[in-house]
Symmetry: C2
Subunit: 388 residues, 2 copies
Amino acid sequence: MNSFAFQNPTKIIFGQGTVRQLGKEAAAYGNKALLVYGGGSIKKTGLYDQVLSQLKEHGIEAFELAGIEPNPRLSTVHKGIDICRKNGIGFVLAVGGGSVLDASKAIALGVPYEGDVWDFYEHKATAKDALPLGTVLTLSATGSEMNSASVITNWEQNRKLGYLSVHAFPRFSILDPTLTYTVPKDQTAYGAVDMMTHVFEQYFNHTPDTPLQERLCESILKTIVENAKLAQEKPDDYAARANLMLCGTYALNGGMISVGMDQDWASHDIEHELSAIYDIAHGAGLSIVYPNWMKYVYRERIERFVQFAVRVWDIDPSGKSDEDVALEGIQATRDFFRSLGAPSTLAEVGIGEDRIEEMAAKAVGFGPLGHFKKLEQADVAAIYRLSL
Amino acid sequence: MNSFAFQNPTKIIFGQGTVRQLGKEAAAYGNKALLVYGGGSIKKTGLYDQVLSQLKEHGIEAFELAGIEPNPRLSTVHKGIDICRKNGIGFVLAVGGGSVLDASKAIALGVPYEGDVWDFYEHKATAKDALPLGTVLTLSATGSEMNSASVITNWEQNRKLGYLSVHAFPRFSILDPTLTYTVPKDQTAYGAVDMMTHVFEQYFNHTPDTPLQERLCESILKTIVENAKLAQEKPDDYAARANLMLCGTYALNGGMISVGMDQDWASHDIEHELSAIYDIAHGAGLSIVYPNWMKYVYRERIERFVQFAVRVWDIDPSGKSDEDVALEGIQATRDFFRSLGAPSTLAEVGIGEDRIEEMAAKAVGFGPLGHFKKLEQADVAAIYRLSL
């Protein structure tokens, strides 16, 4: 086990009807809030009205930034920063899924910073402060509700970059599983894929002597596998939605499940290049890329892939070679993603091979990717090709 | 799954040599610290000198309260409060095991409170504030390093009571597994028993639809079972000590593994009455009581006990009744505790039946115990008798 420091100050408030606690929580952060949301589905479901009435009841004036995109854009973040500055707003309230939350984090980080918030994502500056942020989650996927990470796309540069800052942890996050009842089948699938791959990024490593962390990872993976299809088949299955929501949050909340382990994240970077150009859903991109990353790297520590196959997919190893068991586990992952309706190939989402070298070159722009196996440009291109 | 709120602000700093980060962390909380420790083993190991030099280097004046007892006493807590008040001390630094940490929490809570800090433990008042607290852990057991709980014994009243306050979370805890190399075999056993029973208190419940939480609990239990004997056999086995330390912390850190589940805690209350009169080690008392609590209550939700037997103890259920599998799991727990050298009967620690009714009456002083099965005085007495 490696040495580590861990701290996660976010308060999570979980359960049906917890939106009723929003006003009280928000009131701790002043009397002006920037309400950030996406395409307006929260207006159809009534959540928008509930949120506004909570703010009003607690004497909080609401300013609005609507229309956050699925891969949230720097230009939209800039708009939010402007609104906060012009109106002296001291609190950001994100109501939506991971994209809305990530955009809100970028806004919260950008307001007190003199330069362009993009500097943080390009590793040119370090955030020293942020506006306080609260969230109401409507999609189980990214874990952004209880972590310090955000991913923003600079569309002019076709660059999608992530940034972690201790100042970006939400102060509170309201997690009501019933708010995810309206999430359609495909988004439910992408969410499940996203959270599973978050665990993969932490689970496949070379760190010795981490039996607890490995089991925590496996616990989340098995629970997602059990619940994702239930939620697709019966969208208002409270238990399934609640289990997925908790899995998504725990899968990536500052490393609780993976303290003291190396992490990888090559596949996420490989996917980011895809959605930065083709604007595909992050979960769809991961569904395509991840099993191919697995096939490309599993020999680096085959025992971990054998353990994954046996413990997560209940594959019987008796009489089989490690190689066979590992490959069965990878195939089971592919089959599961496909069974949820998530894509397996770039062809399925209309992406060909023409920009592979360009994406591979950009992906390694800050250096080789990953830890499990260091990936150079040629490796990244090979994984794109495996994904065609 | 029940609705819940969860927040744990404690920063943990884990790994060999992390004591070197103490001064920097402590300096955030002023220039006077009350250093709280136990019987002086930290002087033998050199930790005491290390701590003092860290404080000195960072310009922090150290006042001392030594001699915290294994079941920490209210009278000692009072002494600590007095020292803080007389000297205008604004920070408490606990260096030791759970008892030292718990006493330090009581001191931190008591300093800003006008009445007697015992009021909190008797549920007569609620803490509104506390001095900031930092810890350096030397024993893996109680989880006090990352939770808000403390247990104090009022020796005049023979009462041992616990209290939880959000203000009592340590601001930081330094967890260096090498500091537990000198923990003897019996204390290593009691620590393992203590952390396992913390998980039991959360795991045996009637809450439906909590598959992730159940697996997180089982993950910790299995990892303790794998590592406790290794640490006894080779006290300086870094991996075993590190795994146990992380298990102890995660087993009871404000409910991270058990969010949304009912908890029990009857067995802890039953044990507290034992050590409040006989001053036995908490882990020894739990080792005696817990398997008997299990035998007394398992029929309330036999499926959970079957799951426990199969998943934690790898008991093959094929061809057996649920009753048999459940009982095998309970026996495996008993056998494991015994294999570590922890006691199985009250007779082994010199306790007879003469004060059973008195203890049972005191145990239910605030009402029936537990949630898994509500225990009245007669039930508690029956469990003591099973333990003879």
